[in-house]
Symmetry: C2
Subunit: 232 residues, 2 copies
Protein backbone atom coordinates (compact mmCIF):
# COMPACT_ATOMS: atom_id res chain seq x y z
CA UNK A 1 0.00 0.00 0.00
CA UNK A 2 1.11 3.57 -0.64
CA UNK A 3 0.28 6.63 1.44
CA UNK A 4 -0.65 10.04 0.04
CA UNK A 5 2.86 11.47 -0.11
CA UNK A 6 4.21 8.47 -1.96
CA UNK A 7 1.50 8.46 -4.65
CA UNK A 8 2.28 12.13 -5.19
CA UNK A 9 5.89 11.21 -5.76
CA UNK A 10 4.78 8.63 -8.34
CA UNK A 11 2.87 11.32 -10.27
CA UNK A 12 5.91 13.62 -10.12
CA UNK A 13 8.33 10.96 -11.31
CA UNK A 14 6.03 10.18 -14.27
CA UNK A 15 5.82 13.79 -15.48
CA UNK A 16 9.53 14.44 -14.83
CA UNK A 17 10.39 11.46 -17.02
CA UNK A 18 8.69 13.24 -19.95
CA UNK A 19 10.09 16.74 -19.45
CA UNK A 20 13.60 17.08 -20.90
CA UNK A 21 16.18 17.69 -18.19
CA UNK A 22 17.22 21.25 -17.51
CA UNK A 23 14.06 22.82 -18.95
CA UNK A 24 13.22 24.72 -15.81
CA UNK A 25 10.14 26.44 -17.26
CA UNK A 26 8.54 23.08 -17.95
CA UNK A 27 8.52 22.44 -14.21
CA UNK A 28 5.28 24.52 -14.20
CA UNK A 29 3.68 21.36 -15.56
CA UNK A 30 4.40 19.23 -12.52
CA UNK A 31 1.79 20.72 -10.22
CA UNK A 32 -1.17 20.56 -12.65
CA UNK A 33 -0.31 17.01 -13.73
CA UNK A 34 -0.10 15.87 -10.12
CA UNK A 35 -3.45 17.54 -9.42
CA UNK A 36 -5.12 15.76 -12.36
CA UNK A 37 -3.74 12.39 -11.20
CA UNK A 38 -5.13 12.98 -7.72
CA UNK A 39 -8.51 13.82 -9.22
CA UNK A 40 -8.47 10.67 -11.37
CA UNK A 41 -7.42 8.50 -8.44
CA UNK A 42 -10.57 9.67 -6.65
CA UNK A 43 -12.73 9.48 -9.83
CA UNK A 44 -11.27 6.60 -11.84
CA UNK A 45 -14.37 6.36 -14.10
CA UNK A 46 -13.44 9.79 -15.53
CA UNK A 47 -10.17 8.56 -17.00
CA UNK A 48 -10.71 8.46 -20.76
CA UNK A 49 -8.45 5.96 -22.46
CA UNK A 50 -8.86 4.28 -25.84
CA UNK A 51 -5.85 2.00 -25.66
CA UNK A 52 -5.89 -1.67 -24.73
CA UNK A 53 -4.93 -1.32 -21.09
CA UNK A 54 -6.04 1.52 -18.80
CA UNK A 55 -3.04 3.18 -17.11
CA UNK A 56 -2.50 2.13 -13.51
CA UNK A 57 -2.37 5.36 -11.50
CA UNK A 58 -0.01 3.76 -8.95
CA UNK A 59 2.73 2.92 -11.44
CA UNK A 60 5.27 5.43 -12.79
CA UNK A 61 5.74 3.48 -16.02
CA UNK A 62 2.04 3.22 -16.60
CA UNK A 63 1.54 6.95 -15.97
CA UNK A 64 4.10 7.98 -18.57
CA UNK A 65 1.46 7.66 -21.31
CA UNK A 66 -0.76 10.19 -19.56
CA UNK A 67 2.17 12.50 -18.82
CA UNK A 68 3.08 12.40 -22.49
CA UNK A 69 -0.43 13.35 -23.59
CA UNK A 70 -0.47 16.14 -21.04
CA UNK A 71 2.86 17.66 -22.11
CA UNK A 72 2.05 17.30 -25.83
CA UNK A 73 -1.33 18.97 -25.35
CA UNK A 74 0.29 21.82 -23.51
CA UNK A 75 3.11 22.37 -26.00
CA UNK A 76 1.02 21.88 -29.15
CA UNK A 77 0.64 24.95 -31.36
CA UNK A 78 -2.95 26.10 -31.78
CA UNK A 79 -2.08 28.47 -34.61
CA UNK A 80 -4.65 27.61 -37.32
CA UNK A 81 -3.30 25.42 -40.07
CA UNK A 82 -3.88 25.91 -43.77
CA UNK A 83 -6.73 23.59 -44.82
CA UNK A 84 -5.54 20.18 -46.00
CA UNK A 85 -8.74 18.89 -47.56
CA UNK A 86 -10.22 19.45 -51.02
CA UNK A 87 -13.61 21.22 -50.93
CA UNK A 88 -16.68 19.33 -52.12
CA UNK A 89 -17.66 20.83 -55.46
CA UNK A 90 -21.34 20.04 -54.91
CA UNK A 91 -21.42 22.61 -52.09
CA UNK A 92 -20.65 25.26 -54.70
CA UNK A 93 -23.38 23.90 -56.96
CA UNK A 94 -25.86 24.31 -54.12
CA UNK A 95 -24.64 27.83 -53.32
CA UNK A 96 -24.92 28.93 -56.93
CA UNK A 97 -28.50 27.72 -57.18
CA UNK A 98 -29.71 28.55 -53.68
CA UNK A 99 -28.04 31.91 -53.11
CA UNK A 100 -27.57 33.08 -56.70
CA UNK A 101 -23.78 33.32 -56.46
CA UNK A 102 -21.46 33.16 -59.45
CA UNK A 103 -19.10 30.29 -60.01
CA UNK A 104 -16.11 32.62 -59.36
CA UNK A 105 -17.62 33.78 -56.06
CA UNK A 106 -18.11 30.16 -55.03
CA UNK A 107 -14.45 29.42 -55.76
CA UNK A 108 -13.36 32.15 -53.36
CA UNK A 109 -15.83 30.98 -50.76
CA UNK A 110 -14.47 27.43 -50.87
CA UNK A 111 -11.14 28.57 -49.46
CA UNK A 112 -12.46 31.12 -46.98
CA UNK A 113 -14.99 28.58 -45.69
CA UNK A 114 -12.22 26.09 -44.99
CA UNK A 115 -10.15 28.74 -43.28
CA UNK A 116 -13.19 29.71 -41.21
CA UNK A 117 -13.46 26.14 -39.97
CA UNK A 118 -9.76 26.10 -39.03
CA UNK A 119 -10.23 29.45 -37.26
CA UNK A 120 -13.26 28.10 -35.36
CA UNK A 121 -11.22 25.20 -34.03
CA UNK A 122 -8.51 27.67 -33.05
CA UNK A 123 -10.98 29.83 -31.06
CA UNK A 124 -12.16 26.79 -29.12
CA UNK A 125 -8.61 25.72 -28.33
CA UNK A 126 -7.42 29.19 -27.36
CA UNK A 127 -10.43 29.65 -25.10
CA UNK A 128 -9.09 26.85 -22.89
CA UNK A 129 -5.57 28.26 -23.00
CA UNK A 130 -6.82 31.72 -22.07
CA UNK A 131 -8.81 30.50 -19.09
CA UNK A 132 -5.83 28.44 -17.97
CA UNK A 133 -3.48 31.42 -18.29
CA UNK A 134 -5.60 33.40 -15.82
CA UNK A 135 -6.97 30.70 -13.52
CA UNK A 136 -3.81 28.69 -12.94
CA UNK A 137 -2.86 31.21 -10.24
CA UNK A 138 -6.27 30.78 -8.58
CA UNK A 139 -6.23 27.05 -7.91
CA UNK A 140 -7.83 25.86 -11.15
CA UNK A 141 -6.12 23.18 -13.26
CA UNK A 142 -6.52 22.76 -17.01
CA UNK A 143 -7.12 19.11 -17.93
CA UNK A 144 -5.21 19.35 -21.18
CA UNK A 145 -4.26 16.28 -23.21
CA UNK A 146 -7.81 14.90 -23.57
CA UNK A 147 -7.66 12.10 -21.04
CA UNK A 148 -10.19 13.38 -18.50
CA UNK A 149 -13.67 12.53 -19.70
CA UNK A 150 -15.99 15.53 -20.36
CA UNK A 151 -14.01 17.87 -18.07
CA UNK A 152 -11.77 20.79 -19.03
CA UNK A 153 -10.91 22.34 -15.65
CA UNK A 154 -10.80 21.10 -12.06
CA UNK A 155 -10.44 22.94 -8.75
CA UNK A 156 -9.71 21.33 -5.41
CA UNK A 157 -11.62 22.88 -2.52
CA UNK A 158 -11.83 21.94 1.17
CA UNK A 159 -15.21 20.32 0.37
CA UNK A 160 -14.06 18.28 -2.63
CA UNK A 161 -13.63 18.99 -6.33
CA UNK A 162 -15.21 21.53 -8.65
CA UNK A 163 -15.22 20.39 -12.28
CA UNK A 164 -16.04 22.47 -15.33
CA UNK A 165 -16.77 21.65 -18.97
CA UNK A 166 -16.53 24.61 -21.36
CA UNK A 167 -17.77 25.18 -24.89
CA UNK A 168 -17.30 28.11 -27.23
CA UNK A 169 -20.99 28.35 -28.21
CA UNK A 170 -24.31 27.30 -26.75
CA UNK A 171 -24.97 25.11 -29.81
CA UNK A 172 -21.71 23.13 -29.68
CA UNK A 173 -22.23 19.51 -28.83
CA UNK A 174 -21.71 18.65 -25.19
CA UNK A 175 -19.92 15.53 -24.14
CA UNK A 176 -22.24 13.55 -21.96
CA UNK A 177 -21.13 14.26 -18.45
CA UNK A 178 -20.82 11.87 -15.56
CA UNK A 179 -21.12 12.70 -11.90
CA UNK A 180 -17.93 13.15 -9.97
CA UNK A 181 -17.49 11.81 -6.46
CA UNK A 182 -19.62 12.91 -3.49
CA UNK A 183 -22.54 13.70 -5.77
CA UNK A 184 -20.81 16.75 -7.20
CA UNK A 185 -21.81 17.26 -10.81
CA UNK A 186 -19.83 18.73 -13.64
CA UNK A 187 -20.60 22.42 -14.17
CA UNK A 188 -21.01 23.63 -17.74
CA UNK A 189 -20.26 26.99 -19.29
CA UNK A 190 -20.30 28.32 -22.85
CA UNK A 191 -18.74 31.55 -24.09
CA UNK A 192 -21.25 32.81 -26.69
CA UNK A 193 -24.94 32.66 -27.55
CA UNK A 194 -25.31 31.56 -31.17
CA UNK A 195 -28.66 33.33 -31.65
CA UNK A 196 -27.59 36.75 -30.35
CA UNK A 197 -23.78 36.74 -30.43
CA UNK A 198 -23.73 37.88 -26.79
CA UNK A 199 -21.03 36.55 -24.49
CA UNK A 200 -21.51 34.79 -21.21
CA UNK A 201 -18.47 35.64 -19.05
CA UNK A 202 -20.61 36.74 -16.10
CA UNK A 203 -22.04 33.23 -15.84
CA UNK A 204 -18.72 31.53 -15.07
CA UNK A 205 -18.63 29.44 -11.88
CA UNK A 206 -18.43 31.69 -8.79
CA UNK A 207 -14.86 30.70 -7.95
CA UNK A 208 -13.76 31.89 -11.43
CA UNK A 209 -15.47 35.26 -11.20
CA UNK A 210 -13.69 38.58 -10.55
CA UNK A 211 -10.32 37.08 -11.44
CA UNK A 212 -9.95 39.14 -14.62
CA UNK A 213 -11.50 36.85 -17.26
CA UNK A 214 -13.36 38.87 -19.90
CA UNK A 215 -14.15 39.05 -23.63
CA UNK A 216 -11.63 41.90 -24.07
CA UNK A 217 -9.01 39.89 -22.22
CA UNK A 218 -9.70 36.90 -24.45
CA UNK A 219 -9.35 38.99 -27.61
CA UNK A 220 -5.99 40.35 -26.43
CA UNK A 221 -4.85 36.84 -25.53
CA UNK A 222 -5.83 35.56 -29.00
CA UNK A 223 -4.04 38.37 -30.85
CA UNK A 224 -0.98 37.92 -28.68
CA UNK A 225 -0.91 34.13 -29.06
CA UNK A 226 -1.19 34.29 -32.85
CA UNK A 227 1.55 36.92 -33.05
CA UNK A 228 3.93 34.83 -30.94
CA UNK A 229 3.12 31.43 -32.46
CA UNK A 230 3.24 32.25 -36.18
CA UNK A 231 4.86 29.31 -37.97
CA UNK A 232 8.24 30.34 -39.37
CA UNK B 1 -51.01 -13.71 -32.33
CA UNK B 2 -50.93 -12.12 -35.76
CA UNK B 3 -49.78 -13.69 -38.99
CA UNK B 4 -47.67 -11.99 -41.66
CA UNK B 5 -50.52 -10.60 -43.73
CA UNK B 6 -52.19 -9.04 -40.73
CA UNK B 7 -49.06 -7.29 -39.45
CA UNK B 8 -48.66 -5.87 -42.93
CA UNK B 9 -52.18 -4.49 -42.72
CA UNK B 10 -51.27 -2.86 -39.39
CA UNK B 11 -48.34 -1.07 -41.01
CA UNK B 12 -50.56 0.07 -43.88
CA UNK B 13 -53.30 1.36 -41.61
CA UNK B 14 -50.72 3.36 -39.61
CA UNK B 15 -49.27 5.12 -42.65
CA UNK B 16 -52.69 5.65 -44.25
CA UNK B 17 -53.86 7.39 -41.08
CA UNK B 18 -51.15 10.02 -41.62
CA UNK B 19 -51.59 10.59 -45.35
CA UNK B 20 -54.44 13.01 -46.07
CA UNK B 21 -57.29 11.30 -47.91
CA UNK B 22 -57.41 11.64 -51.66
CA UNK B 23 -53.70 12.39 -52.05
CA UNK B 24 -53.08 9.58 -54.49
CA UNK B 25 -49.39 10.40 -55.05
CA UNK B 26 -48.69 9.97 -51.37
CA UNK B 27 -49.67 6.33 -51.71
CA UNK B 28 -46.08 5.81 -52.96
CA UNK B 29 -45.14 6.05 -49.31
CA UNK B 30 -47.06 2.96 -48.23
CA UNK B 31 -44.68 0.36 -49.64
CA UNK B 32 -41.45 1.82 -48.21
CA UNK B 33 -43.01 2.40 -44.79
CA UNK B 34 -44.29 -1.17 -44.69
CA UNK B 35 -40.84 -2.43 -45.69
CA UNK B 36 -39.14 -0.46 -42.89
CA UNK B 37 -41.64 -1.80 -40.34
CA UNK B 38 -40.92 -5.37 -41.46
CA UNK B 39 -37.20 -4.72 -41.12
CA UNK B 40 -37.64 -3.28 -37.63
CA UNK B 41 -39.87 -6.16 -36.57
CA UNK B 42 -36.99 -8.50 -37.43
CA UNK B 43 -34.35 -6.15 -35.95
CA UNK B 44 -36.07 -4.38 -33.04
CA UNK B 45 -32.75 -3.16 -31.57
CA UNK B 46 -32.35 -0.89 -34.62
CA UNK B 47 -35.44 1.16 -33.81
CA UNK B 48 -34.13 4.52 -32.64
CA UNK B 49 -36.59 6.28 -30.37
CA UNK B 50 -35.95 9.01 -27.80
CA UNK B 51 -39.44 9.23 -26.39
CA UNK B 52 -40.63 7.65 -23.18
CA UNK B 53 -42.21 4.55 -24.64
CA UNK B 54 -40.87 2.64 -27.65
CA UNK B 55 -43.56 2.20 -30.31
CA UNK B 56 -45.15 -1.24 -30.37
CA UNK B 57 -44.84 -2.48 -33.95
CA UNK B 58 -48.03 -4.53 -33.60
CA UNK B 59 -50.28 -1.59 -32.79
CA UNK B 60 -51.67 0.86 -35.37
CA UNK B 61 -51.95 3.65 -32.80
CA UNK B 62 -48.42 3.13 -31.61
CA UNK B 63 -47.07 3.09 -35.16
CA UNK B 64 -48.61 6.45 -36.04
CA UNK B 65 -45.62 8.23 -34.45
CA UNK B 66 -43.23 6.44 -36.79
CA UNK B 67 -45.49 7.00 -39.78
CA UNK B 68 -45.57 10.70 -38.95
CA UNK B 69 -41.78 10.96 -38.80
CA UNK B 70 -41.52 9.07 -42.07
CA UNK B 71 -43.98 11.29 -43.95
CA UNK B 72 -42.51 14.50 -42.49
CA UNK B 73 -38.99 13.45 -43.43
CA UNK B 74 -40.11 12.70 -46.95
CA UNK B 75 -42.06 15.92 -47.45
CA UNK B 76 -39.56 18.23 -45.71
CA UNK B 77 -37.88 20.80 -47.95
CA UNK B 78 -34.11 20.42 -48.14
CA UNK B 79 -33.65 23.78 -49.83
CA UNK B 80 -30.90 25.47 -47.75
CA UNK B 81 -32.17 28.01 -45.27
CA UNK B 82 -30.69 31.42 -44.64
CA UNK B 83 -28.45 31.19 -41.57
CA UNK B 84 -30.23 31.98 -38.30
CA UNK B 85 -27.24 32.32 -35.98
CA UNK B 86 -24.94 35.28 -35.31
CA UNK B 87 -21.30 34.58 -36.26
CA UNK B 88 -18.68 34.50 -33.50
CA UNK B 89 -16.62 37.66 -33.85
CA UNK B 90 -13.52 35.96 -32.44
CA UNK B 91 -13.36 33.77 -35.57
CA UNK B 92 -12.77 36.97 -37.56
CA UNK B 93 -10.08 38.06 -35.11
CA UNK B 94 -8.28 34.78 -35.70
CA UNK B 95 -8.62 35.05 -39.47
CA UNK B 96 -7.26 38.58 -39.53
CA UNK B 97 -4.19 37.58 -37.54
CA UNK B 98 -3.61 34.11 -38.96
CA UNK B 99 -4.38 34.69 -42.63
CA UNK B 100 -3.71 38.42 -42.93
CA UNK B 101 -7.24 39.30 -44.03
CA UNK B 102 -8.80 42.73 -43.61
CA UNK B 103 -11.68 43.37 -41.27
CA UNK B 104 -13.97 44.03 -44.26
CA UNK B 105 -12.98 40.73 -45.89
CA UNK B 106 -13.74 38.92 -42.64
CA UNK B 107 -17.20 40.49 -42.54
CA UNK B 108 -18.01 39.05 -45.97
CA UNK B 109 -16.57 35.70 -45.00
CA UNK B 110 -18.81 35.49 -41.92
CA UNK B 111 -21.92 35.31 -44.09
CA UNK B 112 -20.53 33.10 -46.83
CA UNK B 113 -19.14 30.69 -44.23
CA UNK B 114 -22.57 30.32 -42.67
CA UNK B 115 -24.14 29.80 -46.07
CA UNK B 116 -21.49 27.18 -46.84
CA UNK B 117 -22.49 25.26 -43.73
CA UNK B 118 -26.16 25.37 -44.75
CA UNK B 119 -25.17 24.23 -48.25
CA UNK B 120 -23.12 21.34 -46.82
CA UNK B 121 -26.14 20.10 -44.87
CA UNK B 122 -28.18 20.40 -48.05
CA UNK B 123 -25.71 18.26 -50.05
CA UNK B 124 -25.88 15.51 -47.42
CA UNK B 125 -29.67 15.55 -47.39
CA UNK B 126 -30.02 15.62 -51.18
CA UNK B 127 -27.56 12.75 -51.53
CA UNK B 128 -30.07 10.50 -49.75
CA UNK B 129 -32.95 11.86 -51.83
CA UNK B 130 -31.02 11.29 -55.07
CA UNK B 131 -30.13 7.70 -54.23
CA UNK B 132 -33.74 7.06 -53.23
CA UNK B 133 -35.04 8.60 -56.49
CA UNK B 134 -33.04 6.06 -58.51
CA UNK B 135 -33.01 3.00 -56.24
CA UNK B 136 -36.66 2.94 -55.21
CA UNK B 137 -37.42 1.15 -58.48
CA UNK B 138 -34.73 -1.45 -57.74
CA UNK B 139 -35.92 -2.79 -54.42
CA UNK B 140 -34.06 -0.39 -52.10
CA UNK B 141 -35.95 1.53 -49.44
CA UNK B 142 -34.88 4.88 -47.98
CA UNK B 143 -35.14 4.88 -44.18
CA UNK B 144 -36.14 8.50 -44.00
CA UNK B 145 -37.45 10.10 -40.82
CA UNK B 146 -34.46 9.20 -38.63
CA UNK B 147 -35.92 6.32 -36.68
CA UNK B 148 -33.75 3.48 -37.96
CA UNK B 149 -30.46 3.49 -36.09
CA UNK B 150 -27.32 4.05 -38.22
CA UNK B 151 -29.01 2.89 -41.44
CA UNK B 152 -30.08 4.96 -44.46
CA UNK B 153 -31.18 2.32 -46.96
CA UNK B 154 -32.41 -1.27 -46.75
CA UNK B 155 -32.95 -3.93 -49.39
CA UNK B 156 -34.82 -7.19 -48.90
CA UNK B 157 -33.22 -10.14 -50.67
CA UNK B 158 -34.09 -13.85 -50.68
CA UNK B 159 -31.20 -14.35 -48.21
CA UNK B 160 -32.18 -11.60 -45.79
CA UNK B 161 -31.60 -7.85 -45.61
CA UNK B 162 -28.91 -5.63 -47.05
CA UNK B 163 -28.43 -2.44 -45.03
CA UNK B 164 -26.42 0.63 -46.03
CA UNK B 165 -25.18 3.68 -44.17
CA UNK B 166 -24.06 6.57 -46.40
CA UNK B 167 -21.99 9.69 -45.75
CA UNK B 168 -21.11 12.58 -48.02
CA UNK B 169 -17.37 12.53 -47.16
CA UNK B 170 -14.87 10.04 -45.82
CA UNK B 171 -14.21 12.33 -42.85
CA UNK B 172 -17.85 12.73 -41.75
CA UNK B 173 -18.57 11.09 -38.44
CA UNK B 174 -20.08 7.64 -38.68
CA UNK B 175 -22.85 6.54 -36.41
CA UNK B 176 -21.69 3.48 -34.57
CA UNK B 177 -23.31 0.61 -36.38
CA UNK B 178 -24.88 -2.50 -34.95
CA UNK B 179 -25.16 -5.86 -36.59
CA UNK B 180 -28.46 -6.73 -38.22
CA UNK B 181 -29.99 -10.16 -37.95
CA UNK B 182 -28.33 -13.34 -39.25
CA UNK B 183 -24.87 -11.84 -38.75
CA UNK B 184 -25.34 -9.44 -41.65
CA UNK B 185 -23.46 -6.22 -41.02
CA UNK B 186 -24.28 -2.72 -42.11
CA UNK B 187 -22.42 -1.74 -45.27
CA UNK B 188 -20.92 1.75 -45.42
CA UNK B 189 -20.35 4.07 -48.34
CA UNK B 190 -19.19 7.66 -48.69
CA UNK B 191 -19.49 9.89 -51.76
CA UNK B 192 -16.23 11.88 -51.72
CA UNK B 193 -12.63 11.64 -50.53
CA UNK B 194 -11.81 14.74 -48.49
CA UNK B 195 -8.08 14.59 -49.32
CA UNK B 196 -8.41 14.33 -53.09
CA UNK B 197 -11.95 15.46 -53.90
CA UNK B 198 -12.47 12.24 -55.92
CA UNK B 199 -15.86 10.58 -55.85
CA UNK B 200 -16.61 7.02 -54.92
CA UNK B 201 -19.69 5.99 -56.95
CA UNK B 202 -18.01 2.83 -58.26
CA UNK B 203 -17.73 1.50 -54.70
CA UNK B 204 -21.47 1.38 -54.05
CA UNK B 205 -22.82 -2.00 -52.91
CA UNK B 206 -23.05 -4.42 -55.86
CA UNK B 207 -26.84 -4.42 -55.94
CA UNK B 208 -26.78 -0.62 -56.42
CA UNK B 209 -24.30 -0.66 -59.25
CA UNK B 210 -25.19 -0.14 -62.94
CA UNK B 211 -28.57 1.34 -62.06
CA UNK B 212 -27.63 4.84 -63.24
CA UNK B 213 -26.25 6.45 -60.09
CA UNK B 214 -23.37 8.83 -60.90
CA UNK B 215 -21.79 12.14 -59.94
CA UNK B 216 -23.25 13.81 -63.04
CA UNK B 217 -26.66 12.40 -62.22
CA UNK B 218 -26.36 13.74 -58.68
CA UNK B 219 -25.44 17.21 -59.91
CA UNK B 220 -28.45 17.27 -62.24
CA UNK B 221 -30.69 16.09 -59.41
CA UNK B 222 -29.38 18.83 -57.11
CA UNK B 223 -29.86 21.60 -59.67
CA UNK B 224 -33.32 20.31 -60.49
CA UNK B 225 -34.36 19.95 -56.84
CA UNK B 226 -33.24 23.48 -55.95
CA UNK B 227 -35.02 24.94 -58.97
CA UNK B 228 -38.29 23.20 -58.09
CA UNK B 229 -38.15 23.76 -54.34
CA UNK B 230 -37.22 27.44 -54.16
CA UNK B 231 -39.19 29.02 -51.31
CA UNK B 232 -41.77 31.47 -52.67
Amino acid sequence: MTDDSSVESIYKRAILSIIPEGKIRDYDLIKPFTEICQFLAENPHLLSWRGRQKPDLRSVDSLKGLANKFVNGFKRSDFPREPNTVPDNMVSVVMEHAYGLSSAQCDDIKLTHQRSMCAENCVGNLLERYIDSVMTDHGWTWCCGDFVRAIDFIHKTPDGWEALQIKNRDNSENSSSSAIRNNTTIQKWFRTYSKTGKTNWDKLPETMQNKGLSEDGFEMFVADYLLNNKPS
